[in-house]
Symmetry: C4
Amino acid sequence: MSAIGHRTWAIAEGYIPPSSTGPEPEFLSHETASILNTNDEPAHVSITVYFEDREPATYQVTVEPRRTLHQRFNDLSDPEIPRGLGYASVIASDVPIVVQHTRLDSRQAENALLSTIAHPITGSSGEH
Amino acid sequence: MSAIGHRTWAIAEGYIPPSSTGPEPEFLSHETASILNTNDEPAHVSITVYFEDREPATYQVTVEPRRTLHQRFNDLSDPEIPRGLGYASVIASDVPIVVQHTRLDSRQAENALLSTIAHPITGSSGEH
Amino acid sequence: MSAIGHRTWAIAEGYIPPSSTGPEPEFLSHETASILNTNDEPAHVSITVYFEDREPATYQVTVEPRRTLHQRFNDLSDPEIPRGLGYASVIASDVPIVVQHTRLDSRQAENALLSTIAHPITGSSGEH
Amino acid sequence: MSAIGHRTWAIAEGYIPPSSTGPEPEFLSHETASILNTNDEPAHVSITVYFEDREPATYQVTVEPRRTLHQRFNDLSDPEIPRGLGYASVIASDVPIVVQHTRLDSRQAENALLSTIAHPITGSSGEH
């Protein structure tokens, strides 16, 4: 099977709810970028986070060969992503990956969930 | 990093619930277009809203360089978008952007969330 | 603005919950195909519904120029779509349209929502 | 109508909640891959599941001509997919199909739903 996915993805929606209800870590309000690396080599991934009122910040993660990584935006640090404010992200990798975005909102007693495929940036895809 | 996104996006689903439960503005029922502008220049964006029973209306917003704007449809005025009725939208920019659509429905005690990537209009994209 | 969208779309997920809670029609469990027609002519649209255990059925709707139609699958008749069973759909138009899919599940006291952009069938698009 | 869809799809997000509330099987927490086969021949489909900490596993299903199959990941066995852990999947078919991903989370009294179109892998599509 040849390389699956794209090298760059964008997620326009981002929001970590500022409060939570229920036992952690499962029911902590969070946002996740699910990253799939089907390659036989590691994916070196940079996550650039854009804000409404300040300059972007960039984070680095690695996804092992033939593995998925479900990276919580909550766990990105230096700087930490502010809770309760809008943000967006661009996810770039040195090998093709697939990216999906999920939020669990547990501010109230019953959870709300959303999920969206990230937007593949065709122009920077390796396989086109 | 070169320009990311497309110049035109469409969202076929639109509905602002007519009622809400919980403290505002966080828990006000709302729909949002999240717009990401990764360019080094401002994005001048027009939002054209289509209805079920009247002619379309157009609104203008600006997204600053390297910033995201989470624009609530609730806040568009002149004319205001009717609550409790279906609508759709086309979002056009002078530079490439990425657009995602989210609804928080707080009509009942516990929230419901939905989110969807907008549909990129390939033919009017700058980078193809 | 030139034609926006595609002539054929597919929605792989379909399920009308068999029960509801709350006042109708807003809180009736339902699935909707939101269709946007930005053209200056009507869109004549056929919705073909595929099932798990029987042959497909086809329905016809019209979307007026510069209008959106939020068509509930619940309201399609002859034959009616069975509640509580999985289905899928292909939506074809004589002019380019944009299609999105939404479900409101009100089987329990608090609603759950999901929404997904339909899958555009590139090969049959008018603008490519 | 010619073949609709792609031969390979990817879903980066996967998570079967480890607990449920409400009558089964409707309210059992589950994840589903909804597959649409519009062809006049069967679709022979392989589902490869990627994990965070072990090698991928592959499963085989068949979707009959002009039918949809809503395959629960819960029902895949040998090996069973672990509950409460992240996974991802690649779905490959010998004929074009359309794939969508849905989760029902019934860990709490009120359900949460999410749904996302899978990511079509353009390079392996039959109709391009």
